[in-house]
């Protein structure tokens, strides 16, 4: 078994128009910029994207939105230092937004990956974001029912990867990446370095390879914050 492939373009070329896509990252940490930019080059459109945010500046997810490839965004916090791309698309009615509290978003993705179709949470009870959702009392407290989230593809970013797809993450770039790896039919992981089998201590594996379809080495990956500081616009 060898899940490594040599270029982001080879991975994302499998993504068709209309696909549902999870993209890892919280802000720039853990955002797979090279996979997103390859997806922009590939041109798949009418996408539903699940990400915590809505992009920053004119690179990564913001660039994907700017290229009008995203029909709907599911996220918790569509604001950033430079949110102009999403804000304009949203106010022009060009993109649909499903706002989900961050912990509910994480748990919906985890549930999708774990085969749990729904769960109850106290989060958002009594607020606008609970409207229309079933409610139930447990031990004297009210909870709302939330459904799993699954995707056709996940684009994630790790630090080390091996040919079986085992992954580690760098610091707080872990965020949504291990959850999204579980919840997508096909998961593409870009990593800073591909190591041989045995190159990752089994005790350090965060995402076991069973959740990963392909690993793509992108040495010295771009970081959203640095691209924005340099005012990069993609493409």
């Amino acid at each position: 078994m060898d899940k490594t492939i040599h270029a982001p373009a080879v991975a994302v070329s499998q993504i068709p128009d209309g696909a549902t896509l999870m993209i890892g990252g919280f802000g720039g940490a853990g955002a797979p910029i090279e996979l997103i930019h390859a997806l922009i080059d590939h041109g798949a459109k009418d996408l539903t994207v699940i990400n915590n945010n809505a992009g920053n500046g004119h690179v990564g997810l913001a660039a994907l939105i700017e290229q009008k490839q995203v029909r709907k965004l599911i996220c918790s916090f569509p604001r950033s230092a430079d949110p102009v791309v999403f804000t304009e698309a949203y106010q022009a009615g060009e993109i649909e937004l499903e706002l989900v509290p961050q912990g509910t978003l994480a748990e919906r993705i985890r549930a999708g990956g774990a085969g749990v179709p729904a769960f109850y949470t106290p989060t958002a009870y009594g607020t606008k974001l609970a409207e229309g959702k079933p409610q139930e009392e447990f031990e004297g407290r009210m909870y709302i029912r939330e459904r799993w989230l699954k995707a056709d593809f996940a684009l994630i970013k790790g630090e080390l990867g091996d040919p079986h797809g085992n992954l580690t993450y760098r610091m707080a770039s872990r965020n949504f990446n291990p959850l999204m790896a579980m919840a997508a039919t096909t998961t593409f992981a870009q990593v800073s370095r591909v190591v041989p089998l045995g190159g990752i201590d089994p005790e350090h594996v965060v995402t076991p390879g069973i959740f990963v379809s392909n690993v793509i080495e992108v040495a010295d990956p771009a970081q959203e914050e640095e691209l924005n500081r340099a005012k990069v616009v993609y493409p």
């Binding site: 940490a29 937004l97 706002l99």
Partner: protein
């Protein structure tokens, strides 16, 4: 309406006051922006462990400019540093800490707080792009939820109200408020005044508060370090 501009506490003083209540060993989440100030004023003999909902527990201060590592950030997407004791974890674990009731305290800002403890702090209800982040998770599940806020809006309207007019973040969730004029607990659906700055009378404080201020004991003078004014 009373002019309180000259007598009210600064944000740093409000944050200092909130920090005095955090006990040694508490697990605490600080909201983005103003609440982050609280970390600066921890008493020296106590160590709280701060949780950042993007997946970090027990982190160090911001690095010098130019030395940022953008994989090491807090929930406000600002660069932080690691220190002995830091841990990283994924989002489902981070919100298991929140939802599972493992956090002792969440400190947030507010647009409005009702006497019931209802909190509105995520949407002005006026259009624009709605954004909620982790606020709804935090307020519904942390053991205690404290709010840091100016006592009134920029236009002088009360932020402590009988009922919230703005979209709610959570119901009956706030337990204590640290405002620019007072420290107020929420008990049994009432505002209970604990402390007020000595330069405002109880009557004038009530005039800038949108629901009755109750007392169930002495009201203590709220004195904060002048250097932070």
């Amino acid at each position: 309406m009373t002019d309180i501009t000259d007598i009210k506490l600064s944000n740093a003083q409000i944050a200092w006051r909130a920090a005095q209540d955090i006990e040694d060993g508490a697990y605490v989440n600080l909201g983005i922006g103003f609440p982050e100030l609280v970390a600066r004023f921890q008493p020296e003999d106590r160590q709280a462990i701060f949780h950042s909902e993007n997946g970090v527990l027990d982190f160090g201060p911001a690095p010098p400019e130019g030395e940022e590592n953008w994989d090491c950030i807090n929930a406000g997407k600002k660069a932080i540093t690691i220190k002995p004791g830091t841990s990283f974890f994924h989002q489902a674990d981070s919100f298991a800490m929140v939802r599972g009731g493992h956090l002792d305290l969440a400190i947030l800002g507010a647009y409005e707080v009702a006497q019931s403890g209802d909190l509105a702090n995520w949407s002005t209800g006026r259009g624009g792009v709605p954004a909620v982040g982790g606020a709804m998770d935090l307020v519904q599940s942390a053991k205690r939820v404290a709010v840091l806020t100016d006592h009134v809006t920029r236009k002088g309207q009360p932020k402590l109200v009988a009922e919230c007019a703005l979209p709610l973040t959570g119901v009956r969730c706030v337990t204590r408020l640290y405002t620019s004029l007072a420290t107020v607990d929420i008990v049994g659906g009432h505002f209970v005044l604990r402390e007020k700055i000595p330069t405002i009378s109880l009557e004038n404080l009530q005039l800038v508060t949108g629901a009755p201020l109750h007392t169930d004991g002495p009201v203590v003078d709220l004195i904060c370090p002048e250097a932070l004014a």
